[in-house]
Symmetry: D2
Subunit: 138 residues, 4 copies
């Protein structure tokens, strides 16, 4: 799943590069786009499950500047019993020049217990489908 962004003035910091915190918004936007089209998040919410990020590790590799077009490639690369991990890579559009890469680990919090729930049944299936598909498209 690929999400595209044009770098605007309000994304920049004092060096004229995209600010560190903004990248996390780009990554979040890309994850929502992926999930929205594949998963019935409303249904998960009704079942009391909240999609919750517990860890982000991001490497900043190249500065992106005003007017640059970026693409975020998102794939689900790991699915454990109670957690999963997205790999997200940000490139200059149409190149293999990497601006940043990140690993984003999530759990599904059961709101009734406030704890990470086991990922199983149809939810595991939906996420596994995501994972299979991700492995095909970069």
């Amino acid at each position: 799943m690929v999400h595209t962004i044009i770098v605007r003035g309000f994304h920049l910091d004092l060096y004229g590069h995209v600010n560190n915190a903004r990248y996390l918004e780009f990554l979040e936007e890309a994850r929502w786009e992926l999930l929205d089209t594949r998963i019935d998040l409303d249904d998960w919410h009704r079942r009391g499950l909240a999609f919750t990020v517990v860890k982000i590790a991001i490497n900043y590799r190249l500065g992106a500047s005003l007017g640059d077009a970026l693409e975020v490639r998102t794939s689900l690369t790991r699915l454990e019993s109670r957690s999963g991990t997205f790999e997200q890579n940000i490139f200059f559009v149409g190149t293999e020049e990497k601006v940043a890469d990140a690993e984003v680990t999530f759990v599904l919090v059961d709101k009734s217990t406030a704890r990470a729930t086991q990922i199983k049944g149809d939810i595991r299936e939906a996420l596994t489908a995501l994972s299979d598909e991700s492995s095909h498209c970069p």
Copy 2:
């Protein structure tokens, strides 16, 4: 009520000046500081009233740059039957050099009707006290 901010790298835009949208966060922060110390907002929430901004008019007068210290001076300048207005001025700290000024109009939305409620009784008194005080300190 005066709130102070140091301009940081992540506040800036491509010209090295504080970004337009950030000023609205500075203004909101200053309003919360004022309200938090004077008004029992939790009680208002329990009574089903949501403090809601309906209009902001802001003039950008001078660019603020990395490391600048700014102060936001907030006062309640108008209290109508169903709305009120804050005047908020942002200066370089300790000067009368104005960076921006804004008028922020709010209503109290009654969540049961989703409409602006009449501002009366103890709520009017609390806001009037705010207004009196504001007129004394810049």
Copy 3:
């Protein structure tokens, strides 16, 4: 010129509505999209002219929530000797239900004098073209 946004979790405030400051980013994004496609801003920069917003007046009319699709309609409605004004309206996509409307006034700052310059010659023509076109499409 119409720009579309899906409301995401990171856009929201405590009431589950898009935060006031975020709207200014939506408006800025929409203005950049309009200008990028019609005007050679790089050339203006080389000539020492900085596109600078001096005033924003925004009315918040309806709350937008998670997953809502919004469209920003931007048009240049006024062009004075030294300033211009964009009218920007935000609707729920495909409806005439208005979420917010704003007037955004700009000047072109001549960096050599740090003052608003006269808008004339080819720059006036480019902006006038923008204005004509805007009047045709909502």
Copy 4:
């Protein structure tokens, strides 16, 4: 070095918790506060050195909500030949309840070569001083 924040409405996401990306702004603010008081960053800039974050790894442990007071404790925990690492922990004020913890790795980019420079001489001394001090106060 301890930096304090009150959680405001514009910091929150759809679950009423501070948004992931906002934490990076809290961390950046805390690092600036630490560096500003101890290091002559302007001098480093004049020498063509840009303080550049190359990696952030953050764990989100507890949700922070409207009105919560948070403190960010920042210390320099590692100083290699060409990079250094800050450890930053965010707690509910006055408690040992951890909201988030992060490791932030930086380099000093020499703008003439666009590469990470060796950290040596008075710059190494200034950072080492920071490190010694950090080890005393959490």
